[in-house]
Symmetry: C2
Subunit: 296 residues, 2 copies
């Protein structure tokens, strides 16, 4: 007996499903120098960083990666529905036998915050096309979800599932080495209060498998070091031999194809929606298409 119910739900996901095949020119190849590959025991997570939003944080991240800083450390604070945070973790050896003493904070002094930057002109910034609850305006830029404030002419990356950022202490200029990746409902209250400068292109499902901490105990830090899942290896794609670099393309968010995809999501034509949803989109609920595989 064949049961087909709810298959139509799937049509909601393929943002480009209702539109024509995008042109090759509608895709941007991800620069391997901005492609961070995080190996977990569950699989590889690919993060594209946006140095133009936080040049000093991006440079620090690359330096840390090239110093092999993260290799063998761990995801020591993982809170379901919120963030996976990785790095040293409160000065304990993050995993057994790791020479954490050689990785002191003195080598990596606190960074000045890079919470926002001067807004890019349109069409680089492509407005989503409807209001947002948190920010004066939201849209996309180079495939990243971005907010901006026309009053002060600043823009910033917003916290959506997959957003990559540096953690910090209470002061604004206190980030050094620790990073987090959003794994739950968009914590938009963090926008412009932490330095966000990347997003996951692939591998969210591996982050979702990470061992969790208890959010009510020590802010979700996993006290038992042996329970923490390791950060096995972090590399920049550009540091790998050319033949070993994964190739990613991201749909250009200023393209007609993306505009069509957003429109198709806003006004779905699938018969599944016998009652049409309100024509309003959540900036964190609009997927930016990513393709993984060799460039053609």
């Amino acid at each position: 007996m064949k049961i087909v119910r709810a298959w139509a739900l799937g049509a909601l996901l393929s943002v480009a499903a209702a539109t024509a095949e995008p042109l090759p020119s509608d895709w941007r190849a991800v620069d391997p120098d901005n492609l961070v590959l995080i190996d977990t025991k569950y699989g590889q997570v690919a993060v594209e960083i946006a140095p133009e939003f936080a040049p000093n944080h991006a440079a620090r991240l690359k330096a840390l990666i090239r110093a092999r800083f993260y290799d063998g450390l761990s995801f020591y604070r993982v809170i379901d529905g919120f963030v996976a945070q990785g790095g040293i973790g409160e000065g304990t050896a993050s995993t057994k036998d790791h020479p954490v003493e050689a990785k002191t904070l003195s080598q990596w002094p606190p960074l000045k915050a890079e919470f926002d930057r001067v807004s890019a002109p349109e069409p680089a910034f492509t407005p989503l096309g409807n209001p947002d609850l948190t920010a004066p305006e939201v849209g996309f830029e180079d495939g990243f979800p971005v907010a901006r404030d026309p009053k002060d002419g600043r823009e910033w990356l917003v916290h959506c599932p997959g957003t990559f950022a540096f953690a910090r202490d209470n002061g604004p200029d206190t980030a050094t080495t620790e990073f987090y990746i959003v794994i739950g409902q968009s914590p938009r209250r963090l926008d412009r209060d932490l330095t966000a400068f990347g997003r996951v292109l692939a591998g969210m499902q591996y982050l979702q498998k990470l061992e969790r901490g208890d959010p009510d105990v020590d802010s979700g830090v996993i006290a038992d070091v042996s329970r923490r899942d390791p950060i096995m290896r972090v590399r920049l794609a550009s540091d790998l031999p050319v033949g070993e670099r994964p190739a990613f393309r991201v749909m250009r968010t200023e393209s007609k194809s993306f505009a069509d995809a957003v429109e198709a999501r806003r006004h779905p034509t699938s018969p599944f929606y016998f009652r049409k949803p309100p024509p309003v989109l959540d900036i964190c609920g609009v997927p930016v298409p990513v393709r993984h595989g060799p460039l053609q």
Copy 2:
């Protein structure tokens, strides 16, 4: 060397952190007859259902559970950032050696949709206190995130992470046996278009470990049956011996304690927020406190 950066982030999560200890009367014991326990190979997921929002769907679910319908079936359509869908799955044996032929649709005829209901009066409905992008008004009712439309006097459960609902085919009145649970950014476009009638109280991290399908292939259905993670067992807590029933309490969303917790989230006082976030909350980003353990 002690590193304390970003610990303060944790304060964001404990919604009640900044408030006084709630009174015992601020908690509601979850009725074991509305507590669905789904055993996955990763751990147990506890779902509270809300029969008052969808009496026929709730009765069907209980009947299916008591018929052992789901035991041995699988999560056959799991899409990262969207939903985990379980049940028979397109008429294939969901897992090996399962007598799916004995579980034909004819036993479980399509249900009339229960997308919404007459609004409950306040204070049962407790407004969130700020606008929503999707619905005319949002708030909480018995711990569930709810939207309502003052124009037609109807209310409905909204799709947040953890929302439990029945899947359906294209027609509104086509749900029979298949369920889904939201595991990603709130898909609010599904609100009032599917029958949602529950939410996960505990165990989201186990759903996040489920084997994923490819959303671009067959709507995310996992074609290889052997790769699907099984639904090992589903029980109503009230069908277990009293000593084996897990006890859950949910903070009363009409209580002063919850109002204080929402206020503390809206206007955080932690020094981590040297710059205060906009005082606007996402209905799907406000946790309703849950306690697991014996009633005291």
